[in-house]
């Protein structure tokens, strides 16, 4: 799979006395995937997005956007960015803003107008197209901003914290909007809501202190093909029996959670039947089963290791 976006040893520093915002960042975002960019505050997510959108310039390294360096004319109509904290004009109407941005994206006036309508419809704001942005609620403004990034059907869309400040209903609705784009473009989403990213994304890039600490498909990152987490009820876990039956598997119990890690190439389905049987025989209730570790756990583990 070719890459829609690639960072190669990218460094960016805001001041000599400040630590680098990006410190040799190297990662890739495959074409056509919904990608998540994960990292704690100050990890460099917004800086990375700003480099892609041409708002900042890298001190060192290379950012390749859709096959080349950032050039607004080469990327005309192909790149959409939802910048963090960038305000939309309060006095303008959503339709006016979106139509302007679509025209700047290279569309003729009539097409741009209908694209603006379509983008607003997609975020359920079709009925508010002529209201002033300043008169809209925070959530609605956020959706206008997302529509502004999506307008014109760009090939690559970067959304920096798209659900920030949205209530759960609005966030879920926005997630549906983004999910509907699956396969039509490459989406890169930065968010602190890891559960949301886990549900949405095919590809994950984790960064911390300006460096990539892990990247891969969601299955690779969360270990869905290798790990099963069993949340158990009271009772003694038959560890000896399990270790004997599952040679090569790593097994550990932590806070009533049995984490089972299979070796490469192992049949995880068959192994899960063995574990379930042993637990049933020991009278230990199974409260929840989960393939792979949560993105949050993976992220906390990686961030912890990186800080050690």
């Amino acid at each position: 799979m070719s890459d829609a976006l690639r960072f190669e040893g990218v460094g960016k520093r805001y001041g000599r006395r400040l630590p680098p915002a990006l410190d040799g960042l190297a990662c890739r975002f495959p074409q056509g995937a919904i990608c998540g960019l994960v990292g704690p505050n100050g990890a460099g997510k917004t800086t990375a997005f700003s480099l892609v959108g041409g708002f900042l310039r890298a001190d060192v390294g290379k950012v390749e956007v859709l096959g080349g360096p950032f050039d607004p004319f080469r990327l005309k109509g192909r790149l959409g960015v939802l910048p963090q904290d960038a305000e939309l004009g309060d006095r303008h109407t959503p339709h006016e803003i979106l139509a302007h941005l679509a025209r700047l994206g290279g569309l003729p006036r009539v097409v741009a107008e209908s694209e603006a309508d379509r983008a607003l419809e997609s975020v359920n704001l079709g009925g508010d197209r002529e209201k002033r942005v300043g008169a809209l609620s925070h959530g609605m403004r956020r959706r206008v901003a997302v529509a502004a990034a999506l307008v014109g059907r760009p090939e690559l869309v970067l959304l920096d914290e798209p659900t920030a400040g949205l209530d759960p209903v609005q966030a879920a609705s926005l997630r549906k909007v983004l999910d509907a784009r699956r396969g039509t473009c490459t989406l890169v989403v930065s968010s602190h809501d890891l559960e949301e990213l886990e549900r949405l994304c095919d590809w994950i890039v984790m960064i911390d202190r300006g460096r990539c600490v892990r990247q891969g498909t969601i299955a690779e990152v969360t270990g869905r093909t290798q790990v099963i987490e069993w949340t158990l009820g009271p009772g003694e876990v038959p560890m000896q029996e399990l270790e004997a039956a599952l040679e090569g598997h790593s097994l550990r119990v932590e806070d009533r959670v049995l984490v089972q890690r299979a070796p490469d190439g192992a049949d995880l389905d068959a192994a899960s039947v063995v574990v379930a049987g042993a637990l049933a025989r020991a009278g230990v209730a199974i409260r929840q089963v989960r393939r792979g570790v949560s993105l949050e756990r993976r992220f906390l583990d990686d961030a912890g290791k990186a800080r050690e």
């Binding site: 708002f55 950032f70 607004p72 004319f73 910048p83 960038a86 004009g89 302007h100 700047l104």
Partner: protein
């Protein structure tokens, strides 16, 4: 190139729409209308006082409204020296007198006010969007030069619209408060002079755009822009004083040529002879905008 020009036009169009939406355009128009109408009325009052004094001297009954004794007034020193002061060159007064007095005053006022009004308005064009980061919406869809020159073009349009509307205010003052004012003649003279004042003002809009690209604080940008405009007047005063005190020299001449004010005299020339000076002023504006653009393309947004 074609795409680039299209983007400049789109950014300019949106700049005008934004000014209309935020009432900035209306504020600018009202400012121009009030200033030109108010100053025009003051000028008419002054003319009325001079005519009344002349009527007493000539022992003829004074008229209710000024304008009837202009020719007689011009035979005296008072009005002529006032016009010489406005035009800045005694030799140009005769040529200028083919236009109504009120139109002459309108251009003089325009040369004084348009730079400050226009630059105060243009100063926040980019800096405001840098502050709110709204510029990022456009910045990944078009080039930074296109953004700067689009904003400049938008401001040029706004300034022209406000200047053209101010013609109406001065024309009404002339028609209502003066006598013997040819309606069409006054309108044509006002229009011709307004274009000149606008061209002169564009040099300062360019300076304001450059200031706007320097800082993300609209307040600072406005202070810088008005300060820069005032600074050029101070430099102009120094250059004039220097050339009068020590005679024309290469330093003073160069300084005068390098300032938009150094081309004001040319804007008073009759016929189409004012056009080159107007183009030089527009070039000043573009040069200043380009200087701002050079900074803007390098800065973090």
């Amino acid at each position: 190139m074609r795409g680039s020009l299209r983007d400049v036009a789109l950014v300019a169009r949106f700049e005008v729409v934004r000014a209309i939406r935020t009432w900035r355009a209306l504020a600018l128009v009202v400012l121009y209308l009030v200033a030109t109408a108010g100053a025009g009325k003051i000028f008419v009052e002054l003319l009325s006082t001079m005519e009344t004094a002349l009527a007493h001297t000539l022992r003829v009954p004074p008229t209710d409204r000024p304008g009837a004794m202009t020719a007689k007034l011009l035979e005296g020193e008072e009005l002529r020296s006032m016009l010489e002061g406005m035009v800045g060159d005694p030799q140009l007064v005769e040529g200028v007198l083919s236009h109504p007095l009120l139109a002459i005053f309108h251009l003089w006022l325009g040369l004084l006010l348009v730079p400050f009004f226009a630059s105060a308005n243009a100063a926040e064009s980019i800096s405001g969007d840098l502050k709110t980061r709204a510029v990022r919406w456009e910045a990944h869809r078009t080039g930074r030069l296109e953004i700067v020159f689009g904003r400049y073009l938008g401001q040029a349009g706004l300034t022209l619209a406000a200047s053209v509307l101010s013609i109406l205010a001065t024309w009404i003052v002339g028609m209502v408060f003066m006598v013997r004012q040819p309606p069409l003649g006054l309108l044509v003279s006002l229009a011709s002079f307004t274009v000149r004042a606008w061209a002169f003002g564009m040099a300062f809009v360019g300076l304001a755009m450059a200031c706007s690209a320097l800082t993300a604080s609209p307040a600072w940008a406005r202070v810088l822009a008005i300060g820069a405009a005032a600074g050029t007047w101070v430099l102009y005063g120094i250059a004039r004083w220097g050339s009068e005190e020590w005679g024309a020299g290469i330093v003073w001449d160069a300084l005068l040529q390098a300032l938009p004010q150094g081309w004001m005299r040319g804007l008073w020339l009759p016929g189409v002879h004012w056009v080159p000076s107007a183009f030089v002023c527009l070039a000043f504006g573009l040069a200043a905008t380009s200087a701002g653009a050079l900074r803007f393309v390098r800065r973090d947004l």
